[in-house]
């Protein structure tokens, strides 16, 4: 089932916060991650889709049916909350059976379906446990089972992994993705963790001050961010102020970079993006700009090494598997992206 937001606006009374002019289409069975800094409006967006808040203007459609004015309970959307919001006075299976109880499913049937849902999230044998006796990961599985058991039209996940420790987070990413594909359910996944978004989503929507600034596949978002702020938010980045000096050259604080000819006019001020993994160690031939400097930071991370090379007053951040001494780096034109200032 598809979700469509059309020109949605919402502002919290007497504040600057809200969401503004949001247009978003989520296709049937697609997982869209919404990322952004704190206060960017991503959770508000989820609240609007779920029906916890009503937009000041604009429409929200589920499979082309307008649900803008429909109360939460009638939207049939599975929501997984940040801290899971499990009912502590119910056992795991009673939590999962609750939406079925609301829908007046016969007791035997709801027990059977709750048990089946718990089995599908890998919690067989935990059905009689209260939430407070389960680990964080198990609680999240119960929350997922509860959100899926009543065959919702779509799944809304509000930072579901933020309460888990790092080791469990990776495992649960795969688990959520597996279930989402298994149920083939349209999903909106709110997160502030860009790595989580890139690794799980079909598409990623980036929010900034209540506005969607880019919606793209993880690869496109990483390789071709639309703005300087998106480039800085998604992944590690070298971002320098630059001035276009010719069709194939841009001047940055520590020298001149050769770039692929583009549509930038001479004299135009731009933001220059180079990802750290695209900084090559040593002096390369064939059009690469070479810069010499001294290492000011060097962090060994096992499989790779992150370093900062000071070139004049500027710093070039690099990432490499090379273990020897570094006194120069090269930047190829194809690894440089010019963004609006």
């Amino acid at each position: 089932m598809s979700i469509r937001l059309s020109s949605v606006n919402f502002r919290y009374p007497s504040t600057e916060f809200g969401v503004f002019d949001v247009d978003l289409d989520i296709r049937d069975g697609e997982l869209v991650a919404v990322i952004g800094a704190s206060g960017s409006g991503k959770t508000t967006l989820l609240k609007l889709i779920a029906g916890f808040e009503s937009p000041d203007s604009g429409r929200i459609l589920l499979d082309d049916a307008d649900v803008t004015d429909l109360p939460v309970r009638d939207r049939r959307l599975g929501v997984v909350f940040q801290a899971y919001a499990l009912f502590p006075h119910m056992t795991a299976w009673q939590n999962v059976a609750y939406p079925l109880k609301i829908r007046k499913v016969a007791p035997e049937e709801r027990y059977r379906r709750a048990m089946e849902a718990l089995f599908r999230v890998g919690l067989k044998g935990f059905e009689e446990r209260r939430p407070q006796t389960l680990s964080g990961g198990q609680q999240q599985r119960v929350a997922l089972a509860r959100a899926l058991v009543f065959q919702p039209k779509a799944l809304l996940l509000d930072e579901p992994l933020s309460a888990l420790d790092a080791s469990l987070r990776g495992e649960m990413r795969d688990e959520i993705r597996r279930l989402q594909r298994e149920f083939n359910i349209s999903t909106v996944h709110i997160t502030h963790d860009q790595e989580e978004a890139l690794s799980m989503a079909d598409r990623v929507a980036v929010m900034e001050r209540g506005r969607l600034v880019q919606v793209a596949s993880p690869r496109e978002l990483y390789d071709a961010p639309a703005t300087r702020s998106v480039a800085g938010f998604v992944g590690e980045a070298n971002l320098w102020d630059g001035t276009v000096t010719a069709a194939d050259a841009v001047e940055v604080p520590f020298g001149v970079l050769h770039v692929r000819p583009g549509n930038h006019a001479a004299g135009q001020r731009v933001a220059v993006l180079v990802r750290p993994e695209n900084i090559a160690v040593g002096r390369l031939d064939g059009g690469a700009a070479v810069f010499e400097g001294s290492l000011v930071r060097d962090r060994f991370l096992g499989a790779m090494r992150r370093y900062d090379l000071a070139v004049g007053d500027a710093v070039i951040r690099g990432q490499t598997g090379f273990r020897g001494a570094i006194d120069a780096v090269s930047i190829r034109p194809e690894h440089i992206l010019l963004l609006p200032q």
């Binding site: 309970r73 939207r75 909350f81 801290a83 919001a85 499990l86 009673q94 609750y98 609301i102 959100a147």
Partner: protein, 268 residues
């Protein structure tokens, strides 16, 4: 060893006087109980006490819950300062409370006279204050803070996202509150009800100052029996034992309910 001074105080000022009262009640082989039960004043007093013991806690619980729910949603600093003002009535003597009510709601009280231009009859209006229900209203003044203090920790710890979760799962607001909030708050609400009921049943200071002995409730009947010249001490002691039993029964009922809820899951 550290508990010894406390145990000594408990022994001297609770166990010994209680033992003396119980012994006094049975000095004539329990005949005092017969005299108490045969007296129509006792039954009238018991009824008044039960009405007072049921209405004052019910009203206090309703108001106290609403106040505690509101406080639980406030920032901690604001909640703490408001709680100070709410708890203030607990520090006042029952006599001060009673005189305050007389000055406000008595026959010549400020509120009573203010309502006269609206067609209110001062005698009828203030008469309400001197009935068991009026007494319940006055008692609520210091019972409500007790309810707030008992319910507030539960409500502060209650994750309100559970209500949102229930609604997203298909429940209406009332159904969500009934299914999610009520079962979690109920043990504390019952405990609060029973505790303030026991306080209302046993209190006499406010009642005495407010209504003298006009209203038939057991504490005031007990007071009359002790203060009468040539008092029948065994029957006063028997009445004390009955009052004590009533309060203990109410508190025990609350404890029993809370412990049962601890071991019982939510039913399907």
């Amino acid at each position: 060893m550290l508990a010894a001074p406390g145990a000594l105080v408990m022994l001297a000022f609770f166990v010994v006087p209680l033992g003396v009262v119980v012994a006094e009640a049975f000095t004539d082989g329990g005949a005092a109980f017969g005299r108490v039960f045969a007296d129509v004043t006792f039954w009238r007093g018991l009824w008044g006490t039960l009405v007072l013991g049921a209405t004052a806690p019910a009203f206090s619980l309703a108001v106290g819950f609403a106040v505690a729910w509101h406080l639980s949603g406030l920032p901690e600093n604001l909640r703490t300062s408001l709680l100070f003002w709410i708890s203030l009535p607990l520090t006042f003597s029952g006599l001060i409370v009673a005189y305050g009510f007389i000055l406000a709601f008595g026959r010549a009280g400020f509120v009573t006279l203010s309502l006269v231009p609206l067609g209110s009859d001062p005698a009828t209006f203030s008469g309400f204050l001197y009935s068991p229900i009026g007494l319940a209203f006055a008692y609520s003044y210091y019972l409500i803070p007790r309810v707030v203090l008992i319910l507030l920790p539960v409500l502060v710890n209650f994750d309100r996202a559970q209500i949102a979760a229930a609604e997203s799962l298909g429940a209406g607001r009332l159904r969500a509150l009934f299914d999610v909030l009520v079962p979690q708050v109920m043990p504390s609400a019952v405990a609060a009800y029973c505790l303030v009921a026991a306080v209302a049943i046993g209190a006499y200071g406010t009642a005495l100052a407010l209504v003298g002995t006009q209203v038939s409730i057991l504490p005031l009947i007990l007071y009359s029996r002790i203060s009468d010249t040539g008092a029948d001490f065994p029957s006063a002691a028997a009445l004390s034992v009955v009052l004590l039993a009533l309060c203990t029964l109410v508190l025990a009922a609350g404890e029993f309910y809370a412990s049962r809820r601890e071991h019982r899951g939510s039913v399907l």
